[in-house]
Amino acid sequence: MDTLALIAETWQTYHLTLRTVQHLEMFALSFLITVVAGIALGILFFSSINIRVVGLSTLTVIEMIPDIALLILLIPLVGIGFPPTISAAVLYSLLPVARNTTAGLRGVSPDLIETATAVGLNKRDTLYHIRIPLALPLITAGVRIAVIFCMGIVTLGGIIGAGGLGAPLQTGITTGNDLLILVTGCWVTFLAVGMDGIAGGFGRFVSVRFGGRP
C-alpha cells in the first residue's frame, strides 16, 4: 500500500496526468500528419518517377540524421518546444510510410492490373479499388514504424521543452529521483508498447482482410 501511495503522490506532484495528455496530443498530431502526408506522398511517388527519385532520396537523407540531432537542428528554424518536436517527428516518420505505400502500390501483380483494365477500370479506379486495398498490409507496416518513431521523438521533445512525458523523465534524471523515473519510464514504455501493439494488431487484421503479403 505504501508503494502505491508513493506512486500516487509522485503522479500528483509531477502532474503526470497533464503530462500524459500533452504527450498524447503531440503524438496524435504528429502521427496523423505523418499518416496523411505519408500516404499522399506515397501515391504521388507512385505516379511520377521523377518525384519519387527526388522525394525518396530527400527523405532518406533526413533519415540518416539521428533523431535528436534533427530535433535540435529544427530549433533555429521553428523555435523551441512544441513546433520542432512535431516537425521532427513528422519528418522522421514520413519515410517508412511513404516508402511502404509506394512499394505496396508498385508491388501489385501486373496480372491483376491487366484484369482490372480488361474489365474497364481506368487508372484512377484501379488505384482506389485494386492497388490501395492490396497495398494496405505494407502501408500498415510502415504506419507501425511511424508509431514507434513518433513516440520516441515526442518523448525526446521533453529535453527541448516540449512538455509531455519526456519532461518528468528529464526532471527525474537531473534530480536523481528514482521513483519518478521508474513511474514515468514504465508508463511511457507501457504507452509506447501498447500503441505499437495496437498498430501491430491493426496490421494483422488488415493483412487477413486484404490478404496478400503479411
Binding site: 540518416m64 539521428p66 535528436i68 533555429p76 518523448t155 525526446l156 529535453i159 511511457v188 509506447a192 505499437d196
Partner: protein, 303 residues
C-alpha cells in the same frame, strides 16, 4: 570546459564501442534464433518490444538500474542498437534460398559452416543495413546520454540548450551528423570489401578473384553454364559460394559436387562458375567437367 575535439572523441568512443558490442552480441543472437525456434520466438518478441521503448525512457531507466556515467551510457547504446541488428541479421540469414543451404549441407558443410560460409556472406547487405541503421541510432543516443553524464558532444549541445545559444547547439550537433554520415559511408565500404567479389555486381562478369597471387601450381578454369531456355541469371549466390569455398583444400571435389547440384537444380538456368583446379584433385575437376552436360563453355583463365 570540454573542448570540441575531446567531446568528439568521447562521442565516437561512446557510440561505436556500444555499436561494436551490439554487433558482437546481436549477430550470434540472430544465429541462435535460426538454430532454435523457441529462442527465435523469445528473441523476436523481446527485440520487438524493446524497439518500441522511447530512447529517453531507456536512458532514464539507467539511473536507478545502473547508475550514471560512461558505462551505463554504453549499456543504453548497446540495448537500443541491438534490436535492428538482430532483426536484420535474422531476416537476412533466414531468407537465404533453402536450396543453397541444402547444397551446402550436401557437400558436407556442417551447420556452423553453412552459416559462416553461405548464409552470412549472402545476407551481408541485410546485416549491414541493420548495422547502418544502428549506427545512426547510436549517434543520437550518444547525445541524449549526456543527461546521465556520458560526456561527449551532448555536453556542448546541453550547454547550448541551457543558455539557448544557437551557435553552440549547432557546434555540438553538426559534428555528430558528420560522424553519422562518414560512418555510413565507411560501413558501405566495409560491406563491399566483405562481400565476395562475384556478388558485388548485379550481373557478375566474374572478375579475377582477389587473392590469386600464389596460384603458381594451380590451373584456374572458368566454366560457363547455359540452358537453352535461359531467361534470367539468378546465380550470383552460387558463384559466390564457389569463391568462398575455393579456399578449402578439397575444392575440386567440392566444386564437382556443387556443380552437379547446380545442373540438376531446375531453378538455375544459367550460371557462371568460378572454379580452380588443384593438381591433386584434377581428376575430380575433370569429372566435374564431363558430368555437367549444361556446360557450354570452359575457359582456362590462367594455368
Amino acid at each position: 570546459m570540454t573542448t570540441l575535439l575531446e567531446a568528439t572523441f568521447v562521442h565516437i568512443l561512446l557510440a561505436y564501442s556500444g555499436l561494436a558490442i551490439a554487433v558482437a552480441i546481436g549477430i550470434p543472437l540472430a544465429v541462435l534464433s535460426l538454430r532454435s525456434r523457441t529462442a527465435g520466438v523469445i528473441i523476436s518478441t523481446i527485440t520487438g518490444i524493446g524497439q518500441a521503448i522511447p530512447i529517453l525512457a531507456l536512458v532514464a531507466f539507467m539511473v536507478p538500474l545502473a547508475g550514471i556515467g560512461f558505462m551505463p551510457s554504453v549499456i543504453v547504446i548497446v540495448v537500443s542498437t541491438l534490436m535492428p541488428i538482430v532483426r536484420n541479421t535474422y531476416a537476412g540469414i533466414s531468407s537465404v534460398d533453402p536450396e543453397l543451404a541444402d547444397a551446402a549441407a550436401g557437400i558436407g558443410l556442417t551447420w556452423t559452416e553453412t552459416v559462416t560460409k553461405v548464409r552470412v556472406p549472402l545476407s551481408l547487405h541485410a546485416i549491414f543495413s541493420g548495422i547502418k541503421f544502428s549506427s545512426i541510432i547510436a549517434n543520437g543516443v550518444a547525445i541524449v546520454t549526456v543527461l546521465i553524464g556520458s560526456g561527449g558532444l551532448g555536453v556542448i549541445v546541453l550547454r547550448g540548450l541551457a543558455r539557448f545559444y544557437v551557435p553552440e547547439i549547432l557546434i555540438g550537433i553538426l559534428p555528430a551528423i558528420a560522424i553519422t554520415l562518414i560512418a555510413d559511408y565507411c560501413l558501405s565500404l566495409l560491406e563491399t570489401r566483405l562481400t565476395p567479389p562475384p556478388l558485388r555486381e548485379k550481373n557478375p562478369v566474374i572478375p579475377h578473384p582477389a587473392g590469386t597471387a600464389n596460384l603458381a601450381n594451380r590451373e584456374e578454369v572458368m566454366y560457363v553454364f547455359r540452358n537453352a531456355n535461359s531467361r534470367t541469371l539468378p546465380l550470383s549466390p552460387l558463384s559466390a559460394f564457389f569463391h568462398e569455398t575455393g579456399h578449402s583444400q578439397n575444392y575440386g571435389t567440392v566444386g564437382g559436387f556443387l556443380a552437379m547440384t547446380m545442373a540438376e537444380n531446375a531453378s538455375l538456368q544459367r550460371g557462371v562458375v568460378m572454379y580452380r583446379e588443384y593438381p591433386q584433385t584434377r581428376s575430380a575437376g575433370r569429372h566435374f567437367g564431363e558430368r555437367t552436360t549444361d556446360c557450354a563453355d570452359r575457359k582456362v583463365i590462367r594455368g
